[in-house]
């Protein structure tokens, strides 16, 4: 933690130098410091999850099982999924950027419940510790979905500790969402009306609704699985007439909306970045707000599209297929509106904007292939193949991780008070884009050709595409390591950041970088609409200049 205390920013007190020592961090109730605690923790889990991904790709380099056999391979993809979904993707943007920015964006001194905010980090850490214990103790091999009766009756791996870990992480997520909803309702500065809220805040509001109403359902479902393993309660046990499909319904009732927990905050980030680097008001503000809320609501009604081949009735499948098409409408509205915002804007190509471009393109591919999967006939053909792996990685990694990195670059000057090296930033963005597409585009073809997911070996004719994919994963890993290196580097050696390096709209840019502990020296009063770039004008020339690449 000492590196974060790092440089002294002159005489001015800010949230980083307001207190020193481990205790001032571990017992902080400042939302900005808690965001940094989360940043460190989720980065740790991102690299653990990424490590499993690399082992998977390494094994798939050759058709035969050279590196691991099926038992170990089952554990690898299970741990990759559980760590990435529950300990990285779900908390990533809300708990780091949302935590840091929502109070700043609405002009509040802190979240409504600062101590609950800290509690949710501790719950996350307890859950994370149990997850690490699970991994060290031999892992789980049920698949990240814990499908019954495999998870309740048959496997002998660490299902219980993984479930308890995820249960804690879930309640961390619920409390974060609860905090955000109350903060958005009750803590807005004078003049910050609902129609002036940045879309980032709207996106987090919609996300929080899903977190609060969806997560408890998976929590109780996993509790029932644990009770079934521990005390032989038989709610999902087929021997007692229990229905494994009930488990799948309950599981996906959360875990499909969870996809929107992962993508909606990314959409919020992209809205901010696109407006700033196009120097334009967002196209269709109201449609954008309705779209995020619409995605959150419709997203609750599509879960059974994960179960088209699991034995649900044709009638139910038909309804869920139709509803899954519906959720594409608000998603498309967002993509069209970002594009329309860029249209005739004065676009500059800084690093965050490169990530935003990447997001829009990759999210569109991921979304359109989602429509293939919502279509009953096609889904039966590509179900449980690499097509679906490619589809959701285009949303989760191509969409969400791109947006997360874009947001980290965009707000890094605010968070750290330092500029990141722009040249390295652009290079990393490019590497991530190339590496990502090389990893996952071949998987669409593999899946369409019929390569099933979750096998460690495959027929030799699939090898060339798998080699491409593994090569892409290696490039992607470099693209993810680079920002980590230069972010840490910039904390000490980066150019000090001005309050508003991008000349961006939004209250968070009107307080010094890094902000003081209570965010604003005087309570702000808002008299303008969000994204008033027609009043702000261009990015000042001196800020546009590239910071020279440091070798």
């Amino acid at each position: 933690m000492a590196t974060i205390d790092g440089p002294d920013f002159g005489e001015r007190e800010n949230y980083l130098n307001a207190g020193h020592g481990l205790k001032s961090w571990l017992l902080t109730v400042d939302h900005k410091r808690i965001a940094l605690l989360y940043l460190i923790s989720i980065t740790f889990f991102f690299f653990i999850g990424g490590f499993f991904a690399l082992l998977i790709r390494l094994e798939l380099l050759t058709p035969a099982g050279e590196l691991v056999q099926s038992d170990t391979y089952n554990k690898l993809f299970t741990m990759h999924g559980q760590v990435m979904v529950f300990f990285f993707l779900i908390p990533a943007v809300p708990a780091v950027l949302g935590n840091f920015l929502i109070p700043l964006m609405i002009g509040a001194k802190d979240l409504a419940f600062p101590r609950i905010n800290l509690l949710s980090w501790y719950l996350y850490i307890i859950g994370g510790t149990l997850m690490v214990y699970t991994i060290l103790n031999g892992g789980v091999d049920t698949g990240w979905t814990f499908y019954t009766p495999l998870s309740t009756e048959f496997v002998n791996t660490n299902v219980i500790s993984a479930i308890i870990g995820i249960f804690f992480a879930g309640f961390s997520s619920i409390l974060t969402g609860l905090n955000f909803i109350v903060t958005t309702h009750r803590m807005r500065a004078p003049g910050m009306t609902w129609s002036r809220l940045p879309l980032f805040v709207w996106a987090h509001y919609a996300t929080s609704i899903i977190q609060v109403l969806g997560t408890p359902v998976v929590a109780i479902t996993l509790v029932l699985v644990a009770l079934e393993r521990l005390f032989h309660l038989g709610v999902f046990n087929p021997a007692l007439g229990g229905d494994p499909l009930l488990f799948q319904h309950l599981f996906w009732f959360y875990s499909h909306p969870a996809v929107y927990i992962m993508i909606l905050p990314g959409m919020g980030i992209v809205s901010e970045i696109v407006c700033c680097f196009s120097r334009k008001r967002i196209f269709g503000y109201k449609a954008m707000t309705l779209a995020v809320v619409g995605i959150a609501v419709i997203g609750f009604l599509v879960w059974a599209h994960h179960m088209f081949v699991a034995g649900i009735s044709v009638y139910a499948a038909l309804i869920f297929s139709l509803l899954s098409y519906f959720v594409a409408v608000p998603s498309a509205i967002k993509v069209f509106n970002w594009t329309a915002t860029m249209y005739k804007g004065s676009i500059t190509y800084q690093t965050p904007m490169l990530y935003a471009f990447g997001f829009v393109g990759l999210f569109t591919i991921g979304g359109l292939t989602g429509l293939f999967l919502a279509c009953l006939g096609v889904d039966v053909h590509v179900h449980d193949t690499y097509f679906i792996i490619a589809h959701f990685h285009y949303i989760m990694v191509g969409g969400m991780v791109m947006a997360y990195l874009g947001g980290m670059h965009f707000w890094w000057p605010k968070i750290s008070g330092r500029m990141y090296p722009e040249g390295w930033g652009k290079l990393a963005a490019l590497i991530v884009f190339v590496g990502f597409n090389l990893t996952f585009f071949p998987q669409f073809i593999l899946g369409y050709m019929g390569m099933p997911r979750r096998y460690h070996s495959y027929p030799p004719e699939f090898q060339i595409l798998n080699v491409l994919s593994t090569a892409g994963a290696t490039i992607l890993a470099v693209g993810y390591l680079l920002p980590m290196v230069y972010f840490v580097w910039s904390m000490r050696y980066g150019k000090p950041a001005p309050a508003n390096p991008w000349n961006a709209a939004g209250l968070e840019w009107q307080t010094p970088s890094p902000p003081p502990t209570f965010n604003f020296d005087e309570e702000p009063v808002v008299t303008w609409e969000a994204y008033n770039y027609d009043e702000i004008g261009e990015i000042p020339e001196k800020e546009k200049e590239e910071v020279p690449v440091v070798h």
């Binding site: 979240l111 359902v217 509790v223 038989g234 007439g241 229990g242």
Partner: protein, 240 residues
């Protein structure tokens, strides 16, 4: 949502309970109230998963659930329902007491609530013990040999017995649902113990009693869950 932390702010001299990041006490109270209602919404979804599972299996194994439901002790269940409703009343009286600034009355009603909560848990434990004795606890030792509802009127040769697997399913849900409810009761009793201590120390005044009010909301929620559990587990087959 209690406010034991030291407040360093210009408002500190006005109201010791006002936290630094709120502008007014009203804003703080509103935020805490909204947060509590959202927490309860979360709780509804949490129990909702259990109720959903119950619904599915009650529909699927209608008669077997009726038979198994007859095995629960309705006298104890009814007693517990009365105990819980009384405890909701004592919570309301506690809130009334703090609104009027009567410190000892507040403590009295909170302690009364705790005692009623403990009475509920004691009766519940007695019911659980009975299930163990009758081998109605799911698992290897589970055994069930009871008639389907209404069969006792038939000649002995024609009587049909409930499917023991489906009865085990009923008892699985019974233990999961009442167990989860009892866990909430334990948390509530602990919470009221904490609040009673703080109230005895004079922490809560007519100007600031949000924790009492929110804990009361929680307690009413747990009470309402029990009302549903009582109906679904004890009463579904008592009409014959």
């Amino acid at each position: 949502m209690s406010t034991s932390q030291v407040v360093v702010d210009e408002h500190a001299h006005e109201n010791p309970a006002l936290l630094h990041h709120f502008a007014t006490a009203g804003q703080q109270k509103n935020a805490a109230g909204l947060g509590m209602w959202l927490f309860l919404a979360q709780e509804v979804m949490f129990f909702g998963g259990l109720f959903c599972a119950y619904l599915v299996y009650r529909y699927k194994y209608f008669a077997d659930f009726g038979s198994a439901s007859q095995q629960l002790d309705i006298r104890l269940g009814t007693t517990n329902t009365v105990v819980l409703i009384c405890s909701s009343l004592t919570v309301v009286l506690a809130i009334r007491a703090v609104q009027l600034g009567k410190r000892m009355a507040l403590v009295f009603w909170l302690v009364a609530t705790i005692l009623l909560g403990l009475a509920f848990l004691g009766i519940k434990a007695d019911e659980y013990a009975e299930k163990f004795e009758k081998h109605h606890v799911p698992g290897a030792s589970f055994s069930y040999h009871e008639l389907l509802p209404g069969q006792e009127k038939l000649p002995a040769a024609e009587r049909q017995y409930a499917n023991p697997h489906h009865a085990e399913m009923f008892f699985s849900l019974y233990f999961a649902m009442t167990g989860m409810h009892a866990l909430h009761m334990v948390i509530g009793v602990g919470l009221f113990g904490f609040l009673a201590y703080k109230g005895w120390r004079g922490k809560y005044t007519p100007d600031y009693y949000t924790p009492i009010e929110n804990a009361g909301l929680y307690w009413h929620f747990v009470d309402i869950v029990w009302i549903y559990l009582f109906g679904l587990l004890y009463l579904i087959d008592r009409h014959r």
